[in-house]
Assembly symmetry: C2
Amino acid sequence: MLLVNESDVLAVIRERVQTTDPRVLLGPGDDLAEVLVGDEAASLLVGVDQVVDGLHVLAARVSWDRIGGKAMRRALSDVAAMAGTPLASVASVVLPPNALDTDIKALCKGLHETAAAFDAPLVGGDVAIHRLPDHPLSVSVTVLATPVPPGPVRRNGACDGDLLVVTGHLGGSLEDGGGGSHLDFTPRISEALHLRELFGKGLHAMIDISDGLGRDAGRLAEAAGLQAHIEAEKLPRRPAASIAAAMGDGEDYELLMAVAKDAEVPDSVPGDHGPCPLTVIGHFAPNPAGDDRRVVVFGEDGQEDASECGWDHGQ
Amino acid sequence: MLLVNESDVLAVIRERVQTTDPRVLLGPGDDLAEVLVGDEAASLLVGVDQVVDGLHVLAARVSWDRIGGKAMRRALSDVAAMAGTPLASVASVVLPPNALDTDIKALCKGLHETAAAFDAPLVGGDVAIHRLPDHPLSVSVTVLATPVPPGPVRRNGACDGDLLVVTGHLGGSLEDGGGGSHLDFTPRISEALHLRELFGKGLHAMIDISDGLGRDAGRLAEAAGLQAHIEAEKLPRRPAASIAAAMGDGEDYELLMAVAKDAEVPDSVPGDHGPCPLTVIGHFAPNPAGDDRRVVVFGEDGQEDASECGWDHGQ
């Protein structure tokens, strides 16, 4: 049997990969795992993400420092999603045999400088050079982080009535030149730490939007056994982005969260590049009987199922 | 310019990747890096290794559970090389689009069961499915470990006069059926912990033999600014393995170490599968003036430069 999408593959893997090791506080299934370190005095967040030529980026069209940067940013975005503090990173790379040394140095520069900029120094790596001349470049980044009190923000904590809140603007991330930012986006790490401080335990659940608002809102809803209701006209869209683009474009890397319904949500939160907009776009509600839609968008023309809006990156 | 081998690429990367972050106790260049965690109460070892179809394994000829197992074992062997205690692991995989679900499940089983067997539970992962039909399978494993007092055993501690000691038997690791073991070797983790206890601070330096005895002995020698002298007739060879095979076959994954010259080296050390042989195969000496050979083998026919004996996996 062929497993044609990455979500199916990950479902198979998660089913098998269960551990009863008491050092594992949080296993596979969230943005990062959490393990106890050193006589259980501290805990650590860890996760891995990758960028593959032909899937996430076109290596022939983009300078390789941006590819290295993107691989590091993707991994760091998972740290933001759990409101962690970056600690360190390692990277592994498979190179095509005809890679130029200038490209390899640029890739390394992008990894290293991005890691340093977000306080996750690159401390190790592995390189393999493939023999196939057209072997696509692939870059895998593992990031380590430490949780912030009262602990990492998970995906599964949304409650009935919680507000659905998003940072920044959505849509159009894949259009280079048109405000597209899928290569150079800012992982919302400092924003996440501010959000944790602002909402405290009222920050019930969080995820970074890597596969599109529809799919990622669906993950929060599914993990909590609820339905997410989104009001189309409230979506904070990038200039020229349609509602469909805001719902379905992957790789926005904004934070999407469930916040206690009585919380006061300000218009913005401090971030690395100044204030970052914060928008309430809907709320969580129980699933009506017989209705297994995870995400419903309410707009001028009525309501629509948006659970599948986005890319199947399988995260 | 083309950088045709992995050592050159890694040299370029290490040159660029230097960090002054005080949380980084040990950066790139050893088997694993060491970072401080959680108010500096504990430290953590971390490193990444990969297995790529066509380079380290032939995916069409081997069941995929052994590929997953090998990827995990390679990473765990680096934990052994530093005498650490495994903590957890994460894996990233790029699959060809025509991978069968039975193969994917087997790969996952191999990763998971091997990780569990060595107390490094697999806590996270990422999967990408490439669109190229002949995209080779690649598996990257990041391993986390904790150091054991008095700290991790590094590569660079060999002293003039130190004994050069190796675990197990060498050569022929790539011949399946003939005792070949490059897929199913045992990472010498428990042996390393016993060696640390046995020799204490007299265990000056250690590395796992992944690229061949010549190259890896050369790394210990180079890191210490010394020359390694090996006596050919002392090499603990596998049945039917020649001296050249013992010197040059990669993927033995035995431990090679520099031990204080006054230490008593027993014939074996306890390990996961019973006693593991321990053999003194030579010693470290200063480089004679004008002689930049890193490894010299002394045999019946005189002496020979063995610094390049092995594979350029670039570790």
